[in-house]
Amino acid sequence: MSDTPAVKVEDVTVLHGPMTVLDNVSFSVGKGEFLAIIGPNGAGKTTLIKVILGLLKPSAGSVEVFGRSVNELGPHRSKIGYVAQIHGIDLTFPVTVFETVLMGTYGKLGLWKRPGSAEREAAMRALDRVGIANLQDRPIARLSSGQRQRAFIARALANDPELLILDEPTTGVDIATTGNLYSLLRQLKNDGVTVILVSHDVGVVAAYLDSLACLNVSLVAHCRPDEVACNDALREMYGCDVAYLHHGESPHIVVEEH
């Protein structure tokens, strides 16, 4: 069963009133693959993520995660780590960093049961991994945006996910944290975690990616980031030339000023 893709999206269409938000999107992500979905604002990226996570029912089409229909995942749901867009979260909620990260273990733990030492250790490991173990007792309201983003990534990691989905994790985050985030994602990929990263920012570090999906309502391209098809697709989406900038060892995709 090792060739079962981690995520398989088939002919997904989402209509919102008279608007077509997603048009007949199909692709699959292999186990341990690192995919970035990029596209301009309003391209349907977040909608696609919500369909993959089973939070939104598509008007047509189907989604399989770990080889099962996303609506029949049952306990396998706890193998998904999700980092939502930061502006969807109530940042005044009275909760500490540690308590936030501990929530990541609640899915696997199930109802009624209290988190024990195994869960607490998992939360501490996740905090260590993103480098904010020293902030564990800080209320989330009193974090910088970079620290807050790390806390939410730690929550997604607390359950040792097999599939990690991040929606715009670099929004409002400084360059150093963004760099740390990408190297963390590479480590996770090397550990065999399937990673799907959504960004409107084409400055995604191409070197770590296995594939790049260019989305603008429909799937414009789904290819390796160094293929010519991707350049054409990016030009089509952003209406200008896109080039790779080689900086040190990691090529960045950049859009020319226009």
Partner: protein, 286 residues
Amino acid sequence: MEMFHYAYFQRALVAGVVIGTLCAVIGVYVVLKGLSFIGAGIAHASFGGVAIGVAIGANPIWSAVVFCVLVAWGIGAVSRLGGVKEDTAVGVFFASTMALGVLIIGLMKGYQVDLFSYLFGSIIAVTPQDVWTVLVVATLVLGCVAILYKDLMFTAFDSETAQVVGVPVGKLYFLLITMMALTVVVSIKVVGIVLVSALIVTPAAAAFQLTESFRKMMALSIVFGVGSCVLGLVLSDWLRIAPGSAIVLLSTLAFFVAALFSPRRRRRRAASLQQTRETAATNTGR
């Protein structure tokens, strides 16, 4: 302090302490999840439930429990499944169920229900049977909250992520509004239909001003809720005023004092001052 020797006052006091705790605990979730309007809607619906009970000769509290739970589920179902905004659903249900109550009471010619005590609460209206009802419902609701503490907290904080990892957020939402309905109904004898939603919201809102810890917010909310209930009952018996008004006004006072000393508010002000200074500095720099 001779009031404490009277059985009616002792009953009201026991009911007040339990109701203060119950409302304060449920209130934390209501405030954090932004459900206060549903609370007000359910409270008004209980008028219809009380009227039905009086009409069919059943205990109005139990008929109100059944009716309010159904209305709460109705609001939940219409807003979650029917594509109607939650506040619209509340708006539709809350007026119509109150209208139904007025209609039923109007049709029962010659029957004098002590409506005032249901609307604004009354100390002498609390029967021994009411005290038992309050205790049973409180045990049930507080037991549920204790058992599902972490899951309710996760759902209130970030229901989308909770749903992704497999927490049954839909079921927990319906459980929460069911517990709200139960809390509202057992509280109306003491606080009254019109004022009960304030007893749910205000102590928790006051607690929210003072802390950034969930546990402390829960504890402070209980202190404010029970404190307002006990002090309010004493004042209402002493001054011969409606207990609901006394309790709600005391908790509102607590809210304003808490807001005045709120570290949250002070920090927000400091942050905006800092920002203004930085902007000013940047502008002068140019």
